[in-house]
Structure formats: C-alpha cells, structure tokens
Symmetry: D2
Subunit: 336 residues, 4 copies
C-alpha cells in the first residue's frame, strides 16, 4: 500500500483526494499539507480518512512514512516542492505546469533524476478514454504516418479578469494542455510554432497583453503538421475534440455529451450538449492518471508523462507567444 502525501488542498487537490479515497487501488492518502488550511478542508480530510493534516509542507517531506507526494499547490510553488520532495527521496506527481521558467523546470527534472525518484506531470487529458484511443490508434501504425493533427479546445466561459491577470497568458494557462496533446497525438516533437490570435470576448484583457481566441499551427519532427484552436468562451460547454489525419485516413473523437436524448418536433431537432467543463469531461481521466502514477511507482515502471513532457509544453507555449508578437514562425530550437 503506497502512502501518499498531498501538497495543497485546493480544488484540484480535493479532486485527487476524493478519487484516491474512492477509486485508487494500492495507495492511500496519508497526509495533507496546506499553509492556508481552512476548517472546511480539515473536515474534508477527516471525511476521506486522512489523519495527518499540516499547515507546514515540511511535515510531509520529513515524514518517513510517505512514499510519494502529489503537488497540487499553486504553480509558483511547484518547482520548489518538487525539489524538496526529490531531496527527501519521495516519488512525485506534479500538477502542470512544473514552472513557467524553463531553466527552473530543467533543474527540477534534474533533481528528480539525481534522487532516482519517479516524476510524473499531470497532463490529465492523455488519460481520457477517447483522446487516448485516438493516440493509440495513431501509434499502432494501422493508419499509416500522421499528416495533420487538429485540436479544438474551448472553455465554456471566460475566466474572471483577476484570474487572467495572474494566469501567465492563454498559451501557458490554457493551450499548454493542447500542446502536450499535440505531441501525444503526433507521437513526435514539435519543431516550429506559428500563432495568431485576437481578443474577441473580453476587451479588458488587453491590459495584460493577453488574448482570448487563438490559432496555433505546428510542425513536427516526423513531418506532420498540426493546428490548435482555443476560445475562452464556447458557451455550449467544454469543446474538446481531437483529430489526426493519417496516410490511410482520419481518426477523430467528438465531444462527450450530457446525454444522448434526441427531441424532434416541428420546430427542430435537439440533442444533448457537450459536458460542461473539465470536472465533467475528465473525471475518469483524473482517476486513471493517479492510478497510473501509483502503478508506475509500485511496479517501478516508467511514468506515462514525465518531466520532459512538462518542459516541452512550456517551450511550445513560449514559442507561441513569441510568434504572436513577432508575426513569424518560431523554431523551437531558437528557445532551447
């Protein structure tokens, strides 16, 4: 039974905590640390059977009972916690992104390597039933080589301005998931990035040098090309579709719907809407993600998403921003 410690008991931490209590086999959440621990969080910890509850993260690192940590705190603390966990010889699951600074990411990855601990990064969409089916079919080679990778990724509603201000921008905050998905689907590294974008939804974000609607084109090492479109406000739900056109044809997935009911009247035919947001769409994927981490630690096998994946997606996000600003294709090699 793997013993887990969690850093950060916010929305994503609680999501993982609930999943571990209900679904994860072979692991147990032993301790939680959060400097801003609320009474509500304490109550929650109790309900899911966690007895060690700290405000000081150091308590987790020094607890020799803990085999592995889940870093679910705010992004600016990820790299530091990661390095401390590595120093304490604990395996690491880290929410994305590891950091916004690629040098710090590299250091963190090196620390985990030096400590010989597993490091997995939380790109949850890779564990979605449908997206992973698409990736597996491409990977199998049955469709021939990939030619075009397409990702549609739209949040249901624009976030508040306060969020946008500290988000790091659409490429690092939102499209980073799609950059990782693009690499996953193509089975190849991105080499060139070309971005265009506009402010279509929230004019006020101009002050933060951000955009809310973006299209990014990609070239991959294996000769494929790709494109991602992002909108901060789909309105009809969480639009998450991927498509890979290959030598022998196309494999794609469509949105999961709230229901599969069809109503036909003289006024028209209506069907179910896409599920509303990531909690609805990627619920099962969050479980599978942590289970795969636990299994990789227990069986000492490779984690499915490693530090390198965390690093590359940040490079691509930075290249996208530069491309947008300079109105030109940016080679990833310019940044590395």
């Amino acid at each position: 039974m793997l013993k887990l410690g969690m850093l950060g008991a916010g929305r994503i931490g609680r999501l993982h905590g609930d999943n571990i209590a209900k679904f994860i086999k072979g692991a147990k959440l032993e301790a939680i640390a959060d400097p801003y621990l609320t009474e509500d969080a304490k109550q929650w910890a109790k309900e899911i059977g966690v007895t060690k509850v700290f405000t000081d993260p150091e308590e987790i690192f020094k607890d020799s009972d803990i085999d592995a940590v889940l870093i679910c705190s705010s992004t600016d603390t990820h790299a530091e916690f990661l390095m401390k966990a590595a120093a304490a010889k604990k395996h690491i699951f880290c929410e994305k992104p590891i950091d916004l600074d690629t040098e710090r990411i590299k250091k963190a990855i090196q620390a985990a390597q030096d400590a010989n601990v597993k490091l997995m990064v939380g790109f949850v969409r890779r564990f979605d039933r449908d997206h992973s089916s698409v990736a597996n079919i491409v990977k199998s080679g049955d469709m021939g080589k990939p030619h075009i990778v397409k990702i549609t990724s739209r949040d249901p509603e624009a976030p508040p301005l306060s969020y946008v201000k500290i988000s790091g921008g659409i490429f690092t905050d939102m499209m980073i998931h799609d950059f990782d998905m693009a690499r996953f689907l193509a089975g190849s590294e991105v080499t060139e990035v070309t971005a265009i974008g506009e402010i279509c939804i929230t004019p006020e974000i101009k002050q933060y040098d951000d955009i809310d609607t973006a299209i990014v084109s990609l070239k991959f090492e294996n000769g494929a090309i790709g494109v991602i479109d992002n909108s901060r406000a789909a309105r009809y739900g969480y639009d998450q579709r991927v498509e890979v056109h290959c030598d022998k044809g196309t494999v794609l997935d469509d949105n999961n719907l709230e229901n599969y009911v069809k109503i036909s009247t003289k006024d028209g035919v209506t069907i179910g809407k896409p599920t509303w947001f990531f909690l609805q769409r990627y619920n099962d994927a969050f479980v599978k993600e942590v289970q795969d981490f636990v299994d990789a630690v227990v069986n000492n096998t490779e984690v499915p998403v490693g530090g390198h994946d965390g690093l590359m997606s940040v490079y691509i996000a930075q290249a996208a921003k530069r491309s947008l600003d300079e109105k030109r294709t940016v080679l990833l090699s310019e940044l590395m």
Copy 2:
C-alpha cells in the same frame, strides 16, 4: 447516518455494497448475511468496512441497529425476507421481481404497508440518466400526450441453458424490466398485452417452453400504445433504446457507446460500439437508485418505485405469456 443490512452477497449484492462504500451519502452498510458465505465474500466485506457478517439472515432482522435492508438474494427468497423485514420494522429495498406469484407479491406489499415501512423495488433502468430524461420530458407535458412507446432491449449474448431453465422465461426474467420501463415512459397503466415470439438463437430452450426473441405490443389506460422487442443476443453489446412519440413529436435516446471515436478509411467509417452489458450501461443508475432509496427513508418521502410497480410488471409478464400461448390479446383485467 442510515444503517443498512444486506441479504445476499452475490453479484448484485456486491455491486450495491461497493457503491454504498464509495458513493452513497447518508448511509452505511453495517451488516451482510448470506447462507452460502464464501471466504472471498468475507474478504470483500472486510475491504468495504463491513464488520457484521452472518450466514443466518435472522441476525439481520433481529439487529436493532439496522434501519433498512437490501434484499439481494435469489428471487425465491425475496417475499419471505421482505415480510420478515417488515415484521422487524425495517425499511426495504428489494431487487426485482418481488416474486413470480402475484398473490405472494400482494401479501408482501401488504406486510410492508401494515408495518409502515418503505418498500422500494429495484427497477434500476428508471435511474438511467437518458431513460429518465425521456420519461421526464414526456411527464412534463411539453410534448403533448404520448401516442407510441417503443423499447428496444437486447442482451449481448444468450445466457447458458442452465440459467434459462430456472429463469422463469423471457417475459419474467428479461422483458420485465421493459414492462416497468413502458409504464414509466407512458406514465400510465398497461391494459392489454399481445405477444409474439420465436426461438431464433438457442434451439435447445424449446424444452423449457421458452423463446429468445419476442415482440410484445401494449395498450395503456391513457390511450397510448407501445411495443417492446427483446433479443437474447444482440452480439454488438447491450442495446437499450427507448422512444416515445407524442402529440408534438418524438423523444428518444440512443445507446451509450464505449467511446466516441470515429475512424474513416477507404474501407469504411467505424464508430464506437454500445457499452457491453448492464454493469457498463447502468453503473451510475445503480448508485442513483440506492441513493434515492436512502434519501426517501431519511426524509420520509415516497420511494420512486414501489410495491405496486413490482406487482404490475409481473402481471404484464404473465399476460404476455398467456398471449403468446393463446395467440390473442390478453386484457390485464383477466388476471387481476
């Protein structure tokens, strides 16, 4: 916190037990009784935190800690356990059917009424997200009065002969779910039943006076008509579709699929298959069913599926068999 006792730790019992441990709010599985308790079942009980494990069902009835029971034993024991639970003033969730004999069902219902305890029958499909959406839309009246109720219900593969032998026949064993669904969708009682059927899949079942492929037409009190088709072997999965044509149009649901991936090549276009069987399709419905029972007990409100529903579906099944044998429409009033 409602304390539950479970009678029968077979497949369906364990399903409910796991669900209660993981998902049900406001209730706890306190005790399990099964005369044929295996070591495996004991281990399972331990894992989900049940400490009271008996071979004698009486231990459940006489345990004053237990507020309500879940009857998950074999069909021939349902009515007896139900009456004993009523005598012990425990609320009752009973798997379908209550019994195959309508007189015994009536007695059991009376016992629960006399004891003033809740009695809910496990017609799980009523709790399916899509079927219940269809029913709710019809019930809302927005589509006008229902005219035609259609149910397609096909198991993936034919059961073994040994199962068919003791099943009670396709109408009581399999289509009984659809009879309840038909009443649920029409929002009205069935008045007339007309059945046809054939042996298309397993010639050997002729010796048990059974069929494996059936079509049953229904008339309802509210003027609607309906039809159910059953096959014991769909082959492509669990085919579960319902449709209600109303005065203003049609509302229907399509199967839930294993995935929403589409593969297009020169050889054709393939999409996901329907989910394989009831564990895949009705997993969430099993949870909702028990939660609704628990809530009805805790809040002292009406259970969503009562003894009357359990009785009527057996009457319809009996009418269907008689119609099949006599090649004529059978009025439900002939049997009541």
Copy 3:
C-alpha cells in the same frame, strides 16, 4: 427507345412524367390520358414534350406506338386499366395498390401473365438508397439469418377527413408500404399478423372505423418476427426508419435530414430535421423505380416488384384489420 403511355395526370403521374423527361434513359413519355384533363395539365404535358394528350384512356390502349403504360389513376381504376393494357399487349407499371379486392388483383395478375407482359407494382420505397442497402446486406447473408424486422413509418401531418373517408383505412392506405417493406427486408413471406391501434390524433375518424396510430406485429415463414409502427402525424417530418436484427448483429438506417448543420449554444444543440415528406425523401427512388421498370422491359428481365408483391401486401393489410377487430393473431392462410 421504349414508348410510354400514362394513365392519370394527377400528382403521382406528373411526378413520374417529370422524372421521365429529365432522368429516364431508354424511354420516352409518348402519350397521356386523363378523363379530367385540366388546362394546367395540358400545359405541363407540352412542357415535358408529350404531344399525344387524351381524355379517353382507350386512346392509349389502341395506340400501337405505345410499348408500355404507367397506371397512375385513382385506385378503383387500376385493375381495369391493367387488364385492358394486358389485353393490348402493353407492359404495365401500376401504382400501388392494384386493387383493394384480392380476387380482382388475382384476375389482373392472371391477365398480365396470359398476355405475357411485364407487370410491376409501384412500391417505391424498395428503391430508396438506404432501405435497399439494408435489404441487400440482409440478403447477402453476411449478417446471418434475420431475427427481428422493425419499421418506423410516420407521416408528417394527418390527412384531411375527406381523404381518410375514402382511403380504405390506415392499413391499406398507409401501412401497405410497410407491409411490402417488411417482406422485402425479411426476404420471406408473412404468415401471421397481429394488430393494435388507437385514435390519438383525429377523433373524427372514428366514424369511418379507422385509426391513426397503429402497431402491427408479424411472423415470417423463415422464422423471423417483425413490427411496424405507424402514426399519421409525426410533426417533425417524414419518419422512415428500418432495422433488421440478424444472427450476427443489426443493420438499420436513420432518416435522411434536411441538412447536416449543427448549432450549439448555451440553450442547446440543434441538428437538421428529417426531410418533410415522400417527395423529399423518395425523389431519387421514384426515378430508380421507373428506370428499373424500363430496363426490365427493354432487357426482358424480371421486374423487381411484381403482381405477387402487390397481392401479398393487400392480404397482410386485410389480416391486420381483422386482427384489430377480433383482438387476436390472424393467420394469413385464413384469408387465402
């Protein structure tokens, strides 16, 4: 170039006439006869290049230029015209039904046989791209033997009372198409018929001993069973779906839609409605039907839908009415 004469220049006659002028290869519409010939019809005949326009049908029969006739007049004249055409040694395409009286149908069929002329009956749905695909897949045997044949067939809006009065009833007027389709899909003769029905839409039709909503179950010689549901008022368009469940799985078609546009907003997702009525849905089928008739005459091959098909569908319709009245399964052999 086959020379055609048309009897009846009403709606269906003009449909065929337009199609012949535009699309049919190897045939030419040479003459039209209609006792109630309007100025408008004369103008139309001129536009499509027909020079011989008569009010007396006899002109068609005695015109030695005419190789074949299309009987598009009112039902009560079909059998008579058919026999006269046969006597004049002209090949015959006859709109359905040949007659409502099975003895007269038999005589008409005999007349065509004795004259050694082709006789084709206009069951247009057999020529629909999707329905015929379903039938061909079943016929190929790739899916194994058919078990269940299902047909959904609903007109968009109820016809006027004046029409219902002279229609011959829902089974002969509307479901007769589905009876033929059922035989076509099953690839087998119907042996037993069981009908239920209600008046759900137009209470006034009670005076004509008719219903507007019906479900008819069928048994076939090859061991399959089937069911048809009819409604006179779908409201959302022309609902035309067929399905055959076979030993290895199911083959079905869905409605053709007005368009394949999807609109997604926070209020819901809408898709295209089914095409409105038979002119929209079966337009291409009407062309293919006449082309196949022309080809069969020119190449002296068998017509795809013969007099026997015309006869059987009327028998099934009569059995359905008797079943409805007598609340019992009716064997087709009782009528033959």
Copy 4:
C-alpha cells in the same frame, strides 16, 4: 428565355450543359464552342438539344442571339474570353479562377464593368445547401459576431503528377475554394495570411515547388480569425466540413454521407462514408449556381459571387505561398 453560349466542352462544361438541359428554368443552352471539339462532344451536344456547335469561340461572341456566356475553358483562356464577351455585351459566368495574375483579373473585371454586363465567378461551394446554411446563420447575427472560422477540405486521392505540374500549386488550385469559403463564412475580408505545409503524400511534387498538406491561418477585418487545412488525399472520400465559432456558440456542418446505414456486429459499428468527390457532394450546388446566375441576369439583380470575390481569393493564395516561403505572416496589403 435567356440564351446561353458555352466556351469549352470539357468535364465542367458538360456538367453545366447537362444541368441546364435538365434543371435550369428560364434559360437555354444555344451554342457551344470548343477548339478541340471531339465527336463525342458533338454527340453530347446533340443529345442535350444544342444545335450550334463551333470550334471557333468567336462564333459565340458574334452571335447576337446569345445573351450570356459560360466560360468553362482552361484557366489560361478565361481572362481573354471574359474580355471578349464583355466587348460583345454578353453577361458572363466564369469558372474559377479568372486568372492567376491579379493585374489581368483587374482588367477583366474592369472590362465587364465598362460594358455594364454581369460577371459571376464559379465558386460553387457557396451554393451547397449546408455550407450556405452555416453562412446564413452567421450572417443573420443570431449567433453574435464570428470569432473562429474553420474549414476542413480534403480531396479523396492525390492528382497525377502531370496535373500538379500545371496546377499552379495547392493554394491556387485547391485551397482557393476554401479562401473564398472563408470570406463567405466570416462575412469579412482577409487581412493577414500565415501558412505552413509539408509534402506527406507524393514526394515527387517537390520538383514543382509544391506541397500536398497545408494549414493556413487567416485574420479578418471584422476581428475574426480562421484556419483551413487541406490534404490532397483523405482516402475516405471528399472531406468538406466548415465551422464558425461565434460569440453565442458554434455552427458547423458535417460531411454528406453516401448513405445513412449503420451496421453493428461484435466486430464494431460501421456507418456510411462521405460522398466520394465534388460531383457527388456539389451536384445540387452546381445547379443552384447557374440558376442564380440566370436569375440575376433575367431580373437584373446582383450576382451572388462577383469579380471582386474572384480577385480576392487569388490575392490570398499568393499571400499564402509567400508566407510559406518566408515563414512569416503576410499582410494582404503587401500584395495589393
């Protein structure tokens, strides 16, 4: 009755000729001119009732009976014929593109304006039922302002090398349709173009400085952004999908399928493939296109696709090629 003359009796000319003979109201094809007139073409002209058949195009221009011409000859002759037709005061329908040289296009447009004759350019996809529905919904304003325009456009199989050699490249030959569609859907002019591309299918086309797989991003005057992906070899048919994400949600269309039949077995579920190529997909659109031209001439109203549209799509194609070569965003204003 408008009298039409056709220049060029090749594939596209015959398509229009057949359509005019069968479907077009208010016009008649009077004369055909083709310098390479085959016996086969003469036979065809006879069959569709065209009596004036020339090898010298001048015969058309000087024939005072002819009201309007359809220029269906090879691209290099379009501008010349267009100017001659204008000089002869004949209205003009010209297949796309008018020319590959924007200066010549401008001169041709000017000639038509000076002569006060209609000039329509054959961007047939605008007349597709589904694409035009999408455009109309966007135009209505019901969905709010457009944010993202997406076009998927893939031919079924790569053309022969001999074709690629003289095609003018993927942007001018193939994606030009999509550039026009993008302007049509956005309801706005393109201002910036960014292209990436690869050779994924036919390595030999490298010698012609061409690519076979391309993604082009666009910015529009109204603040929308867009993206088009092209592949010369979809394999599964003609993939033609458009999508516009707007302020209130998304409107998109899916491919028209060969049929709407679904086959479900244990091995999987298959549905119909997209229609094979433009003759199948855009057949009705070709008819509507010419009918709209005829109506605009007869009623003296504006043609739906004018010379300006023909010019802009060539500018965008040129910008795309420059962007591909220079790895940067190209402003359309740089070219104008």
